[in-house]
Symmetry: C2
Subunit: 363 residues, 2 copies
Amino acid sequence: MEQAQQYVGSRVNPDDLKLFCMRAMEQAGLSRRHAEQTAEVLVTTDTWGTFTHGTRQLVPLLNNVKKGALNAGVEPEIVSEGPGWTLIDGHYAMPMVSSQLAMRSAIDKARSSGIAYSGVRHSSHYGAAGYYALMAVEHNMIGLSFSNVDVCMTVPGARAPVMGTNPLAYAVPAGEERPVFMDIATSVVAISKVIAAKTAGKPIPDNWLVDEEGRPTTDTSAYPARGAIQPMAGHKGYGIALLIEILSGVLTGASFLSGIGRWLEEEPKPADEGHAFIAMSVESFMEADQFKARMDSMIREIKNAPKAKGVDRIYLPGEMEWERSEEAHRSGIELPDFVLTNLFKVAEENDLLENLISILKKE
Amino acid sequence: MEQAQQYVGSRVNPDDLKLFCMRAMEQAGLSRRHAEQTAEVLVTTDTWGTFTHGTRQLVPLLNNVKKGALNAGVEPEIVSEGPGWTLIDGHYAMPMVSSQLAMRSAIDKARSSGIAYSGVRHSSHYGAAGYYALMAVEHNMIGLSFSNVDVCMTVPGARAPVMGTNPLAYAVPAGEERPVFMDIATSVVAISKVIAAKTAGKPIPDNWLVDEEGRPTTDTSAYPARGAIQPMAGHKGYGIALLIEILSGVLTGASFLSGIGRWLEEEPKPADEGHAFIAMSVESFMEADQFKARMDSMIREIKNAPKAKGVDRIYLPGEMEWERSEEAHRSGIELPDFVLTNLFKVAEENDLLENLISILKKE
């Protein structure tokens, strides 16, 4: 989209972007609260620089509402609960709404239980796994977040996609240091990196893809029509992805493996992904301040370790995201072209072009 | 040890081996119960074929008792607990004793809480992480087990060991299929594989080690004096190892990173490793039979996936271990030479040579 390209390099205030997203979603029939909860997840993800999972996903999310794979007008429902667990039927409400409900419930229960688990079934793509893990941190809790996703990754011995690149995220509070925070897929790299190498005509390391016969390949030419992405760390990543499949899919009553619908495609079948969330209250084990001081001490020992040649800094998981987030809140988010293209599409379809242009500040 | 070599190829009945281990430990001052619990973990590990973590560890364990880094005569103590958590001070009792207490407690609490966590501090090498995860399976629970260990692994950007190869294990019950079961270190490979390549004079893939300047190397010649092993999957494995460090070390009040003592060395300083265990009761979420049928369905879908060229079988995590374990219970365990060497050492030091020889059945 030509118009979007003109705004590459401009910056947008996160609050302005959030309001824009909310307006678009309200016009698509979402309640103000659902629109706000969804926008909060998407915009926060953009502030980390994780643009693949941020506001660009408004287009497929609203497309899912349009095709009937997500329901604008329903609320997720708690179908069973106990002292340390909650099971939620998402009823295909916006996945970010069901997921926040689930994580809030885990946090509430972990206060007395020490640890609590929430599962969600009948859901769809929940955005960045890490958002929900981070919700725990402000309550002096450790947060974990998992989801199964539609099949696109092979496993050792197979030659075709068997599982999803099931994401895993966690966040842990610290004291003077920033919370430790990780949000990863269990594939060796993101599929977008394979596509980028293919576009650039570059070979890839031989642990990224298998070809249609299941052999490791450095050639991206047949992908994604044939071949599949590999799990991180071979059989170890396969095993971790499988644990996530069980915690978020098998245990919640959601679909799993090939049963999961493809939310990005035009088929109206709902995805039926499942999500799993765990909160652990550090105050069950020691004073929060003591825990945080111990975290600071661990973090500093790692940062102060002898550096590899040519390296001047060792990063803790999440440090890059915190720095980008601080910059985004200070100076606005600099959205890359593929995000702008998506936002302009949303703006056009919802008669919000003027609003979008007004919030994009060119330098 | 020459005598040990004569028995390579012989098989030992797991129960006989357990009794031998118990006798040796009782002579070292352990109570019968502690000796039995420890032997149970070590021998079970041998039945899986995970010989690096089985009865061969009797030598260093008893050496730890001798040097005062483990206490033969104490009991681990529950120092705090709540509806879904238990915190245990191991008081440097045998780590297998503290760990079984911890996992049993998590299982008991998960029955009403849905999920429960147990942490252990003031412990040492707990053997194979997977033993404790598997304890949950017979109670229709999912089990997880983690430990921090002494520093030997680098992290991205560092040039020296910063963390341990913190192990992670899980086990999940199934129905007609065997439980899914994984027990891994978070390093890219076991250190023993690096040493084996070094002994054979073979180069290694460049993601196994960094050299003393922190650069990936295929040359093992300076290791382990200089350089360090790499985490699995680069920054992803680093992040997962760090989560384990937090759950088992920071949260329990155990030592972490360089604070952990080296249990294999002669220094009398206790290791002060920490362990973390989680149990989740599937019956909180659905009937156990329904869960198991869903697990079977997931397992079969993976096993029936299209195979890579030249592959006739896709393995689930744990399948190889189950098959070795069944074979071991049917025909005895065929112990490799390095295990036999260790067992003969224990036998000699504890006047149990005749006993050991009597249980080794040559074909």
